[in-house]
Symmetry: C2
Subunit: 245 residues, 2 copies
């Protein structure tokens, strides 16, 4: 049995997240159905994570098992010919039996993309969060530093979380200004439900003076979702990179 | 009577070009209807040019006359609140009586945007032309040089052209490589129907060896559309800037 690792990207606007659903279309539905057609065999894929409705991925990893002997480059070309334009496969390779897109994942990098100018941009209406107010970078950076490290992130976790352990390690949380765009770039060993969106929304609250920049550490320690800021909108969020050994 | 000049941008994907139409939706339909609503008076706008179905604009200018005394900044904010997300107004100002968005225009700059890599990009499916083949920049640059200057561009004009005079002056035609993207940037005093798209398509033919780089001058002189290359797809084209005195 072959075990194949695939790297893909997708624009999440038209989908109800990655995961297969019965009453809505997830990226998984479309990808699995197309893959099953090419392999002429019902095939189940395992994604590196779930993503919310409207969230995008610059680099998403999935894996699947198959007996089919199709070469990996032919699989990528065939899939791209059949998949809709908002999903693209970039690379496929045979990997060892024990590789698992989710369990083997050592870390993920997310980007939260903000268009920070008065007027919206028609080319980014569904791919960046439009925030027209002045941002206080000094305050946000001071707050973001406190995200870094190993903490129990219960305060930054949406109520639908299904994970038992809320301790995660954040390696970095950078704030990058690039003309009218502001990027929050965060890498961690894993993330709780809505965690990046709550981290991003909390920084906006800090910028607005609704939460004090020095309070982040206390908010983390309190393990109380009510103390953190709002959940930033989904369409600014990108799964940017996934890391494996 | 006030005469107001407005700068806007739009993502052309959902529209049948700029111009108002009866059996399809042009940018003009939506913009005029919204403006008429805000001014509480049926208002006609004059655009700086037509654009084809699916063509985008980073900077498009229109003008209109009104008796309404609404301040320009309020007009912009009001329009943006009502317009769909793929159209945005950036600026409005009172101008002299004789200003006319089309007749006063001294020049236009277009960009033809190409994604030049094997795999498509889900985030540019409708905003860049995906061209997966290797490009010969030396040949294309040699060909593009011959576009520059004052010529009769009949060979580079679609059959629906309604303009009597086919002589236009091209100030520059630059080819810029930016990672996986290639931009053709062309400025002229005016353009015939489909002219930029045929210029772009012809350069691709030159890159592919179907047209010789040295033949462009002869193709221009022949005044025969059949000798130039194909019309490049609309969704890679942007009206990038419009110039007035």
């Amino acid at each position: 049995m072959r075990n194949i690792k695939v790297i893909m990207s997708y624009r999440g606007t038209a989908y109800h997240g990655f995961q297969r659903q019965i009453n809505a279309v997830g990226i998984q539905n479309v990808t699995e159905d197309t893959l099953s057609r090419i392999l002429a065999d019902k095939t189940v894929i395992t994604g590196c994570s779930r993503t919310d409705t409207g969230v995008h991925a610059n680099e998403f990893c999935f894996s699947f098992k198959t007996e089919n002997r199709i070469p990996c480059d032919k699989l990528v070309r065939g899939m791209n010919a059949l998949l809709p334009e908002d999903i693209a496969l970039h690379h496929a390779e045979d990997v060892s039996d024990d590789f698992h897109a989710r369990y083997s994942c050592r870390g993920k990098e997310y980007i939260y993309l903000i268009l920070n100018r008065e007027t919206r941009d028609p080319f980014f209406s569904d791919t960046a969060f439009h925030y027209p107010y002045k941002m206080d970078f000094e305050k946000m950076m001071r707050a973001a530093e406190q995200y870094v490290g190993t903490h129990d992130f219960t305060s930054f976790c949406g109520s639908d979380n299904q994970k038992e352990n809320s301790v995660r390690t954040i390696e970095y949380f950078n704030i990058i200004k690039d003309e009218s765009f502001v990027k929050f770039v965060v890498k961690g060993d894993g993330f709780l439900y809505n965690m990046v969106r709550i981290m991003a929304g909390t920084l906006l609250c800090v910028s607005e003076g609704k939460i004090s920049a020095g309070d982040i550490e206390g908010i983390i320690l309190a393990k109380d979702r009510c103390l953190a800021g709002r959940t930033a909108k989904a369409h600014g969020l990108y799964l940017n990179r996934v890391f494996y050994d």
